[in-house]
């Protein structure tokens, strides 16, 4: 029942999503060649719920031998089965996976929120439906690739190694696996060590779908497992989503080899608000841009630029909105901001908060209570930061917004582009010609005008400059998984 507070404001009663319908095993093995097998390392690591710090399950740690086994299984499946499967049949397998995800969507959503800390509203309404949509979209491409690349004779590449991050665990697995399979490749996927669960549930689902053994292999572990995968001599392509630092390491280690590479890396997106914008909508967009998924988003709108004449109004409304964000139990359907994914990440974010304060910038945190247990960070806003400060240069990967003001279009474009990153950007104005001026001059792979953080399987995603190379999604994303004739 709803209750009122002292100030006579209405508060929402808890509305927890039930967990009774899901099953999590005590321990998960590696998914290799269609079977769950124990790791050669004989080691398992704990996977915890970041909102409660309680153990959820144990995950197998894949060593070099396991990586080799998975790559061999993928190679065998590529040579003997998958490359010989007709393109239409390939598509039908992928459609099956899409449908099975839709059928089990709520279960996946709950597990995603338990394992990663993201609000159930987001895992239920964004992550899982989009993951299913990615399989559905790419399934249809399998027998139509000649139309996507006329005169280029598109051919599959072979065995693909894929490494994904912890911020959108199942969605990133879908972004990677769906186009790889549609283009005729076989896969060895490594999820992030803190969020392996939905990838392993996906492995179970792939078994149910009857996908031939070895076409998709899922191996779990941390950085060393990923390194072994990148370093394996029989991998034809690596697709990596993660930090720019690790992306560069992978680029170096693959130098001079014939292994193909696509990288989807960090970002520090500019979100630009002009005085003629619909301010209330812009404020919603700012909130969605930085506090969506606790700010664990590579394309998060983490640098806010507001035209000087409306800065006071925007800040006032933004603080008001921040105070009304509900931070807490990820499984509560009313929660806006969930738990920080891991203790380590919370530490990183807190270090940035200290750095911002040390630099003398004014910090505002929303006036909300956070649970005692678990990893939490209140939505945070730094105002009047300098262009060269650490908090406006480095990717924080948390709910921390760094704001600056501007006076002219050229000034804000210069500031927005003055970063080694180039993943995304946002523009808020009611003037069409201004939108196109901005969107053409911002050096970023995805530009949201009067919206932010929208994703779709038909829409290519990926960065300029040090945000990586290659695209995922859409017709352009397919080329990352195909050999095209020059």
């Amino acid at each position: 029942m709803a209750k009122t507070t002292k100030e006579n404001k209405w508060e929402l009663s808890p509305a927890p999503e039930s967990t009774g319908h899901i099953s999590i095993k005590k321990r998960y093995d590696l998914f290799i060649d269609g079977k769950f097998v124990a790791p050669s390392t004989k080691k398992y690591f704990d996977s915890i719920n970041p909102a409660t710090e309680e153990d959820l399950t144990q995950i197998a740690l894949a060593g070099e031998k396991d990586v080799d086994k998975a790559v061999k299984a993928a190679r065998k499946a590529y040579d003997t089965v998958w490359s010989k499967t007709s393109t239409a049949e390939r598509g039908k397998y992928i459609y099956r996976i899409a449908r099975l995800i839709q059928e089990r969507a709520r279960e996946f959503a709950v597990i995603e929120s338990l394992d990663g800390g993201k609000p159930i509203r987001e895992s239920r309404d964004v992550d899982i439906p989009l993951a299913a949509a990615h399989f559905f979209y790419h399934a249809g491409w399998a027998d139509k690739l000649d139309y996507a690349f006329p005169n280029s004779d598109p051919k599959s590449i072979g065995v693909v190694g894929q490494i994904i991050p912890w911020n959108f665990p199942l969605l990133m697995a879908a972004w990677k696996i769906a186009p790889a399979l549609a283009c005729g490749n076989t896969v060895v996927l490594k999820p992030a060590e803190t969020t392996s669960l939905t990838a392993l549930k996906l492995a179970e689902l792939i078994q149910d779908a009857g996908l031939p053994n070895g076409v998709v292999n899922i191996i779990t572990g941390a950085g060393e497992t990923g390194q072994a995968l990148v370093g394996h001599s029989d991998i034809d392509k690596i697709a990596f989503t993660g930090s720019t630092e690790v992306g560069k390491m992978i680029r170096r280690s693959l130098a001079g080899t014939s292994t193909r590479l696509t990288l989807e890396l960090g970002g520090k997106a500019a979100n630009i608000v002009f005085e003629d914008a619909a301010i209330d909508q812009a404020v919603e967009g700012i909130v969605n841009g930085i506090y969506f998924n606790q700010g664990h988003v590579c394309c998060a709108g983490s640098r806010l630029f507001v035209e000087e004449s409306v800065a006071d109004e925007v800040v006032r409304k933004l603080k008001h909105r921040m105070d009304h964000l509900i931070v807490g139990d990820p499984l509560d359907k009313n929660t806006d901001v969930g738990a920080i994914n891991s203790k380590g990440q919370l530490q990183t974010i807190e270090n940035y908060l200290k750095a911002g304060q040390k630099d003398g910038f004014e910090m505002y945190q929303s006036k909300v209570a956070v649970p005692k247990k678990g990893y939490w960070c209140k939505p945070t806003l730094f105002t009047d930061v300098s262009q060269s400060s650490i908090i406006s240069k480095e990717e924080i990967f948390g709910p921390v917004l760094a704001m600056q003001t501007f006076r002219t279009i050229d000034e804000v474009i210069d500031k927005a582009n003055n970063t080694p990153y180039g993943l995304s950007a946002g523009v808020w104005t009611d003037k069409g010609s201004k939108i196109f001026n901005l969107t053409t001059r911002l050096k970023a792979g995805v530009v949201w005008a009067n919206t932010f953080n929208k994703f779709d399987p038909s829409s290519p995603f990926g960065g300029y400059k040090e945000s990586g190379f290659g695209r995922e999604g859409g017709i352009h994303g397919l080329s990352a998984y195909l050999k095209l004739q020059d």
Partner: protein, 299 residues
Amino acid sequence: MAKKKTPSKEGLAVMKTYKLFIGGAFPRTESGRYYPLRNESNELVANICLSSRKDFRNAVVAARKAQSGWGEKTAFNRAQIIYRIAEMLQQKEELFIREMKDLGYSDSKAENEFAASIDYLVHYAGWCDKYVQVFSSVNPVASSHFNFSVPEPMGVVAACASNKSALLGFLEACIPAICGGNTVIVLASENLPTCAISMSEVIATSDVPGGTINVLTGSREELLYQFTSHMDVNGFVIWDAESADSIAIGQYAAENLKRVKSYKSKEEPSLTPQRIMDLQEIKTTWHPIERISGAGSGY
């Protein structure tokens, strides 16, 4: 007033000093260094500038300065300018064929390469206002948004041209790049550099803005590190990279994740828009669609 004298046919020919082409000007290398270019009979053809890393850095500054202007020209305008290069080149047929023959080309080989070079320019002039249409898409997203993806220039491109060709290899190293709105710094063929410099003189009189194409001569081995590691270069292309070099290229390029394309020289030039797309980024833009009666309209 004395009547103007014309030089007699027997008079001493005036030889051309081959210089670099940076920011629309023709400077000598700042290093003052040179290497002699000799023909098969060991006669001096020309002293060629041995460019330094400072020359390269100057060229990157010029290319960066020119990039937004060149990239924002209309596609139609870029097409006309590249076609204009073909017009300017055509009338210098004799010069280029002589320069190729001076470096050991047979008559027929020189004539063929010249003809192919003209055709190459005309082909890519035509692509300027077409590749965007061919490689763009409007994406049918499942929400009330208008969403489209278009190719955009990467920015500044550094290129090591083929060492196997005097003129066509040079054009392959710069024309697809500028066709797509990039600016470029080309290191000409080390042993066949003269046509690249004469071509720069053609480019300088074809309405190509200064800094759009910059040309250096010198040693690939010496400059490779600068070309691949420079933090303000967005793309790097090379022809016939040694396998040992390709490890270094990948490692240096990782510094700022510059895009690398490595090609093999072929007899026939590659006439494909893929060469343009190799130096493009895909940008996707979203905007809400207001549907008053429909569901799902969002900010």
